[in-house]
């Protein structure tokens, strides 16, 4: 047995889960799909004294449309994001990002909420949530609060979740049909964390960009959104864009990490190229009428 000993709790509903988290405090860790936490426990990089397994919490999985948003339950597994036609129709970017996550065995187990709460800036789902300005629903002992993606991701592996709070659902805005979406990333092997990547959504009216979202994967300590570029693109003619220039602007001012696989400068160059590629693909898909 490789992980250190821990006490195990499997609450049946959200109230029981938050009561447990509140009682156990800093000693407790929430276990969802376990595809990041359990490896960390096996390597003893994480040694929680108490584990609160949310897999049996009622009502935490599944997707539904509600007031122009797609509400995705926290324990919805990646495989559902990949295959559920409701997800593909409402938030295509989620369905297209999902196949990039690990391998199919990982996606059978890993969850949306787990990935977002783990908050790895090199992962796909945090970038999608940030780009689309998703809203996070956090349940605590005193009720539920909602936090925007920009405020949820604080810094490396750190979120706005308090120790007694549970991420219960994430609300993704549903864009109008005929928008274009794309994911582009470079990884050393398929299924590895990306060296760099970009996710993109775009809407075009009468040849001009009317709405655009650009998220960056692995380009900083949190998932980033190229907001200045989005503002400058809005209203401009889609056919006249210099995409290489847009890519360069999107990564300007970022400080991507450096490791044995890629240095900061290389990651920025790749990131710029991937923004151009994702935007180009999304523009092709979008109806320009």
């Amino acid at each position: 047995m490789k992980p250190a000993p821990f006490g195990y709790h499997a609450p049946a509903d959200v109230a029981e889960a938050t009561a447990l988290l509140s009682e156990l405090g800093d000693d407790a860790k929430v276990l969802a799909g376990g595809q990041s936490l359990v490896p960390m426990m096996a390597l003893r990089l994480a040694r929680p004294e108490q584990v609160v397994d949310v897999n049996r919490v009622a009502g935490l999985g599944g997707v539904r449309r509600e007031n122009g948003t797609l509400v995705v339950g926290a324990t919805t597994r990646h495989v559902a994001l990949e295959r559920d036609p409701v997800v593909a129709a409402a938030v295509p970017l989620l369905a297209r990002a999902a196949p990039y996550i690990g391998h199919f065995q990982i996606r059978n187990r890993g969850t949306l909420g787990g990935s977002l709460a783990h908050a790895d800036a090199a992962a796909e789902l945090p970038a999608v949530a940030r780009a689309l300005d998703a809203e996070f629903e956090l349940a605590g002992p005193d009720g539920t609060r909602r936090v925007a993606a920009a405020a949820f991701f604080r810094t490396l592996f750190t979120t706005a979740l308090e120790p007694d709070e549970l991420l219960v659902a994430v609300r993704f805005p549903i864009w109008r049909p005929r928008s274009g979406f794309a994911v582009a990333e470079v990884a050393r092997r398929h299924g590895d964390f990306a060296l760099a990547g970009a996710v993109c959504g775009v809407q075009v009216d009468a040849g001009r960009i009317s709405r655009v979202a650009i998220g960056l994967i692995g380009m900083g300590s949190v998932p980033l959104r190229a907001e200045a570029v989005e503002r400058s693109l809005t209203g401009s003619e889609a056919a006249a864009l210099d995409l290489d220039d847009v890519g360069a602007q999107a990564v300007a001012g970022t400080d991507p990490p450096s490791d044995v696989h890629a240095g900061t400068h290389y990651r920025a160059k790749v990131g710029a190229a991937l923004v151009a590629r994702a935007l180009s693909t999304a523009l092709k898909e979008a109806d320009h009428g």
């Binding site: 006490g7 376990g34 391998h103 065995q105 990982i106 187990r109």
Partner: protein
């Protein structure tokens, strides 16, 4: 479900009831014991192999309620009430191997055999969900399992052959 929702202190063993290869089983395990260790040590099913023990190599792949998962990333206590299929559960004996098992044997899909149970279970689930995969899909479907002997070419041929055979039936 009462015993599952109860608070358990670290080190305390818990009773888990699960179905393994169609048979109802009961084990007493510490919460930190993975499903892979439990299958091997408590249930004697040593066909589930452990390579990296942190979710990279895929040697411990089993079917959990039909889905291929890494048994080293699931704690046995989480499998309460679940149905688990291991390599031992695929064929009753050497004469009744599944199409996937036969194809691995016939197309040199294994050499030392260490990674093979994980590959066979992954491919079994993969072909169930995608019965007529293209070459790229096969490579993608195999990417979650590591083999250090074959160089993968025999494994890819085995998956193609198994898909063809299953398609004919």
């Amino acid at each position: 479900m009462a015993e599952i929702t109860a608070t358990q202190d670290a080190g305390t063993e818990m009773e888990v009831a699960l179905t393994v290869n169609g048979e109802a089983r009961r084990v007493r395990v510490e919460p930190r014991k993975t499903l892979a260790d439990t299958l091997r040590e408590d249930l004697g099913l040593t066909g589930t192999h452990l390579g990296c023990e942190h979710g990279v190599c895929g040697a411990c792949t089993v079917l959990l309620d039909g889905a291929a998962v890494r048994a080293c990333l699931v704690f046995a206590v989480q499998a309460e009430g679940a149905e688990v299929t291991t390599i031992e559960g695929l064929a009753a004996d050497a004469d009744s191997l599944t199409a996937v098992q036969r194809a691995f044997r016939e197309h040199h899909g294994l050499q030392c055999g260490f990674c093979t149970p994980g590959f066979v279970l992954s491919v079994t689930a993969f072909l169930r969900d995608n019965p007529a995969p293209g070459e790229e899909e096969i490579r993608d479907g195999l990417s979650g399992n590591l083999c250090r002997c074959t160089g993968y070419q025999g494994i890819i041929r085995a998956v193609k052959a198994a898909a063809e055979e299953m398609g004919r039936r």
